[in-house]
Structure formats: C-alpha cells, structure tokens
C-alpha cells in the first residue's frame, strides 16, 4: 500500500524576472515502510518537492499543481494535499508526516530553550499540560540518544553541538511517530564522523516507529546506506528511477553514470577528481531538448532538439534517455 502518491507534480515560482519552473512533472510513490531517496545536485528541485509534500510552500510565490497528490494516513484515510486548507494541514504535519532539515544550527529558534521547542509538539497536537509535555520531551531526547536530557532541555541551541542539534530536530520530527519522514539533506552540515551516527539514528527511528522515509540528498554514499529505491532528479525532472543496488551498480542514464563516476574511491590514488563538465543550466534558461544535453558525453543531435520521455526499461526501472547503456558506454 502506498503512503504517498504523486503524479505529474509541477512547481512554479514567480520571481522578479518571471516564472521559474522548479519542478516539471514528477511522479513519486512511496510504499509503507519503504525508504526512498531523491538524488540530485543543488537547484534540481528536490527540496521544494519535499516541502510541497508538507504543504509548506506559500502561494505566491510558489504555485503547485499535480494530477494526483495523495497521502494516506495511518487510519487509512486518503488526503489530497493540494486541496487541504492550512488548518487541515496543521493536523497532518508532525502527526502524520514530519520533516527534518539540512542545517540544524539555523533550524532551531535561537531564543527558545530546547525543551520549549520540543514541548510545543505535545502541547499543540496532544493538548498536554506543560509539565507532562516536558516529561514526554525528555523521554524523546533519551530515545534519540542525548545524554543528560534534563539539563539539555534548559539550554539554548547556541550552547549545543551540531550533532546534538540534529538529534533534537529528529526527536522533534518523530515525537508523534508520523507515517512519513522527509529528511532534507540531514547530514550535509555535519562533521563526517557525526554523519554516520545521525544516519543510523534516522534508520533506527524509522524502523521502530514503522515510518516511511523520503531521503533528499546529493550524497550517493547516503543513498547507498539509507534507501531501497532511488529517484535521480535533474533540472526539475526525474531522469532515472530504480532500486538502489541496480542504480548504483548499473546506471542507465548518462547523468546517473556521471554522478557515480565523480565519487572518488578510497583505495585508488587520483591525480584529478572526475567532474561533470559545465554547470547545471539556469532554471530560466534550460536547454531546448534533453536538459542534460549540454553536459552529456554522449549527446546527439536528437538529444539537443527533442526532450526524451521517461522510458520504462522494465523491472521497475525507468530512464529519461533515448539510448540504453549498451549503446553508449558499454559499447
């Protein structure tokens, strides 16, 4: 059973220079208990996709449309996210779906204590009295492995380390055991040594509370650890879709292959890091044909003129490329 079903999601931003198409027709589905990752470079529209699930994009400047945008809550009720009023969304947020963010140091309110910020979830969603709420907060802090939670609850965000702050945000997001957890690059701003701890914590929380996970990241290492299925996004479109093992071992889209090639190995000594030539096109100035055509090593005349559809390559795999690997790099 699917927790989330998105079909043909389009997100447009109105800016001073005109309209920017951030997301152009994306299909995403997440099954119960499944861990799904969206991978892509910055600016490919992966973060706004996450925010749109939570109904956190404000109109204007953002305009969200979709053929289908269904979220199924724990009691089996179907919700069309796009037709929800702000008041109805308040109930879904934190209770049914929650989100953790990139930089724990800017995502906590600097003038409120950690305890106050954790309590709020219990106070406004469960109607608990401040004292009971604090007990629950401390219990949550223990669950995410924060030592001495009573003391931490009295502290302000600036007194804590990045790792602890991210743990607090995870505690905040999972305190009502939502059905879907959206993690927007949760380890990007952390030290490498802390990253693994945080990823382990997220998996552990998801398993324990039977949450589905939507992991938004640009880090293929994170994808390998944290996901069952992957969507590769480029310039607001999905370019490849498949299970983690298949995508990482046998990519079918030149962009995915290029991404994997950029990851340096641990044991080989490299003179120069592999990079994808050129930059991601400006969202207001995307190429006419395939969006990757200006950076693709295998680009043809067809690629430059006509946008390829998302081909079904069988076995649940999809690729937005006219060619198969055996016609390109495996030749």
């Amino acid at each position: 059973m699917n927790v989330l079903d998105i079909k043909d999601l389009k997100i447009i931003f109105r800016t001073g220079d005109g309209f920017v198409r951030a997301v152009e027709g994306v299909d995403i589905s997440i099954r119960e208990g499944e861990r799904v990752a969206i991978v892509g470079e910055s600016g490919c529209g992966k973060s706004v996709t996450g925010l749109s699930c939570m109904g956190l994009l404000t109109t204007p400047p953002a305009y969200v449309t979709a053929r289908e945008f269904t979220f199924v809550s724990r009691n089996g009720e179907k919700h069309n996210i796009l037709e929800k009023t702000e008041n109805e969304m308040l109930r879904l947020r934190a209770e049914e779906m929650a989100m953790i963010f990139q930089d724990p140091s800017t995502f906590l309110n600097p003038v409120m204590t950690i305890g106050e910020q954790l309590d709020e979830v219990f106070v406004y969603h469960m109607g608990l009295k401040p004292k009971q709420a604090r007990e629950r907060s401390i219990e949550m802090m223990k669950k995410v492995g924060i030592p001495d939670p009573e003391m931490r609850a009295m502290q302000y965000p600036h007194e804590l380390s990045g790792g602890i702050k991210q743990r607090i945000l995870i505690a905040m997001a999972t305190s009502l055991s939502p059905r879907l957890l959206i993690a927007d690059e949760p380890t990007t701003a952390l030290d490498v040594t802390i990253q693994a701890q945080i990823l382990n914590l997220i998996s552990e929380r998801c398993e324990k509370e039977k949450m589905s996970l939507l992991m938004i990241t640009h880090d293929l290492g994170v994808v390998r650890e944290m996901a069952d299925r992957v969507y590769v996004m480029y310039c607001g479109k999905i370019v490849e879709e498949g299970t983690v093992d298949e995508i990482l071992t046998s990519p079918r889209h030149p962009y995915t292959k290029a991404l994997i090639d950029t990851v340096p190995g641990m044991d080989e000594k490299v003179e120069r890091f592999v990079q994808i030539p050129h930059n991601v096109p400006h969202p207001m100035n995307k190429p006419q044909g395939c969006y990757f055509s200006n950076r693709c090593a295998y680009c043809t005349e067809l690629c430059r003129t006509k946008q390829p559809p998302l081909y079904d390559r069988g076995n649940g795999r999809k690729s937005r490329c006219y060619f198969r690997p055996e016609e390109l790099w495996e030749k």
């Binding site: 939570m54 956190l56 702000e86 969304m89 308040l90 109930r91 879904l92 947020r93 934190a94 209770e95 929650a98 989100m99 963010f101 930089d103 800017t106 995502f107 906590l108 309110n109 600097p110 003038v111 409120m112 709020e120 979830v121 406004y124 969603h125 302000y156 600036h158 945000l169 905040m172 997001a173």
Partner: protein, 368 residues
Amino acid sequence: MKGYYLKKVLSSLFVLFIIITLNFFLPRMIFSDPAQPYFAGVPEDAVALREQIREANGFNDPLIVQYLDYLGRIATLDFGESHYYKESVWKVMFSRIPWSMVLTVSSMVFSLIFGIIFGAVAGKKRDRAADKTLLALSGVTTAIPSFWLALVSVMLFAFTYKIFPYRGAMTAGYTLSFNGTVFLIVFACVIALAIALKLITKKTLFIFAGIPVSLAAGIFAAVPLADIADVAYHAALPVMIAVFSGVISYALLVRNSMIAVTNEDYILTARAKGLPPSVVLYKHTFRNALLPLITNVGMSMAGLMGGSVLTEKIFSWPGMGQLLLDACNNGDYLLSQAILLLFAVITVVCNFITDLVYHKFDPRIKEV
C-alpha cells in the same frame, strides 16, 4: 554572570568620568568668560570689584585646581546655584523634568503601541496596502524635519482653526497640585501586586510591566483630573507631531525585522511542526523580530528626561530642552553644565539597563 555586570558597571563609570571631564573643559572653550554671569549688576569700569569677584569664586586659580574642585563638587552632588533663577540648580532642573517627561513618555508610549501594530501588519502582508503606505510615509517623515511640521501645525491648528492652544503646558501657571501621599500609596499597592503576580506565575514580565504601570497609576491618582485634562489638552499637538514620526520609524523597524525573521529557517521548522499560524507568529516570529526594537527603545529612553529642544521651544513648553537653551543664552554656566551632565548620566544608565534587558531576551549574547 557577576563578572559580566561588574565589567559593565566599570566601563560605564569610565565613560562617565570622560564625560565629566569634557563637561568641564568644553564650556570653557565655548564661553568667552566663565565668570561673566557673576558680574551681573557690576558696572563695566569697576575693574577692581570684578577682579575681586573673580578671585573669590576661584576663577584665577590654575585650570587643574578648578578642575579638581569641580570633581570634588560633583562627588558631593553639589551643582551650585543658578545665576539666572537664583535657586539651586537641582531645584530648577527637577521643576522641569516632569514637564519634559509628560511629552516624551506619552509620545514614546503611543509611538511604540501604534508602531508595533502598524509594523507587524505591514510586515505580515508585504507589498499590500498597509506596507506600501508605510514605505511612502517613511519617505515623508525623513524628508520633512519635525520642527517644520510643528511650526506648520501650530499655524494651522492653533492660530487659523484655534483647536489647540499654541503655547505653554497649562492654562494658568505651571504648578500642579500633587498629592504625594496618595501617589506613594497607589504606587506601593500596584508594585506589590506586580511582585505578587511575579511570584505566582514566575514571569519576570510582571516586574518589567509593573514599574511603569504603577508609576502611571500613582500619578493619575495623585493629580486632580481637571489638571490632567488641561495638561493633556496642551500636550496634544506636540505629542501628535512626535508620534507621527515616531510611529513611522518604529513601524519601519518592526516591519523590516518581521520580514527578515519570517524568512528564517527556524520559522519553517515551527510551521513543519504543525503549529497554528498565530503561535508561529507570536511565539516564534515576534519574539525574534522585536529584539532590534529593544536596543532602539533603550537608546531613546535616554531622551525621555532630556526632552526635545526644538519641540519645547516651538510650543514654549517648560521642559528641560527649553531650560538648556535658556541657560546657554543667559550664560547660566552652572545650570547648563549640570543639565549636560544629567543628560550624560541618564544616557549611560539607560545603555546599561538596555544591555541587561537585551541579555534577558537574547540568550546568545555571551556573558563574558
């Protein structure tokens, strides 16, 4: 924590010392002869007599001796007697301070209340009618000097239409009947209530609010209603002019800071938690957005007792600003020195208090 306060107190004292020193030397550079006011009634050609007065008042001593003498008198809070008013400088100043405060405190209270509301509305609905009006008005208030506005409104509302009086603070005389006992009783009662509320709810807010509220309650109880009405009638025009520019500047500050805070990441976290919009606004946005306002208000607190020289002159208001102007014009040396010193002390004290209060509202300020 203790070290923090000690450091602040010491640095404030150091600033005060510098101000006192400047206060001694600066007027001696500006005025032609500090002994001039002592010669009142002494004919020009009575050189010997003049020299005698000069000698008797220590003007012939070396500057450093005069300076030490001045420091000594300040240490004993002795400011001497005003030559023009023939009264102790303390007495002259304290008869004027309340009048300045009538104008400044009421202007500030009204400016703050309306400024915060206006700014919050404009900041919440950016680029809508309220916001555009605010931006346009801020252009107007920066372009038009407030004394010009004061002059024009006196001409219009006091002379042409005769809605408001054009000068003074009361219809007859400047003496209010003030019942000291009633004031003390009411003041003590309200303060006690505030402390009790603080002890019950454990919120320092009640102490912060308790002090001004009890002062106001005491004053309203101690002064007869007819006098209050008379003063309010006289103060209406100058207060309205001050409030007009005050509201705009506070509103602009709140508006900009609201917009900045609304785009902060932690507001997104608060929304993602499913908090109602009102909670996001008051508990998360406002608490952060009002921080710059605290600094601003703290700074202008210093001006509360000082009053505004221009406004008081235009409306012939018997306040401190007018007093300073007259003291300078009359060469009333000791008085002008004392007023300047008082302003300086108030400024330093207000900055000190602002530091402490800010510390309370923003935990990020390090206690080092």
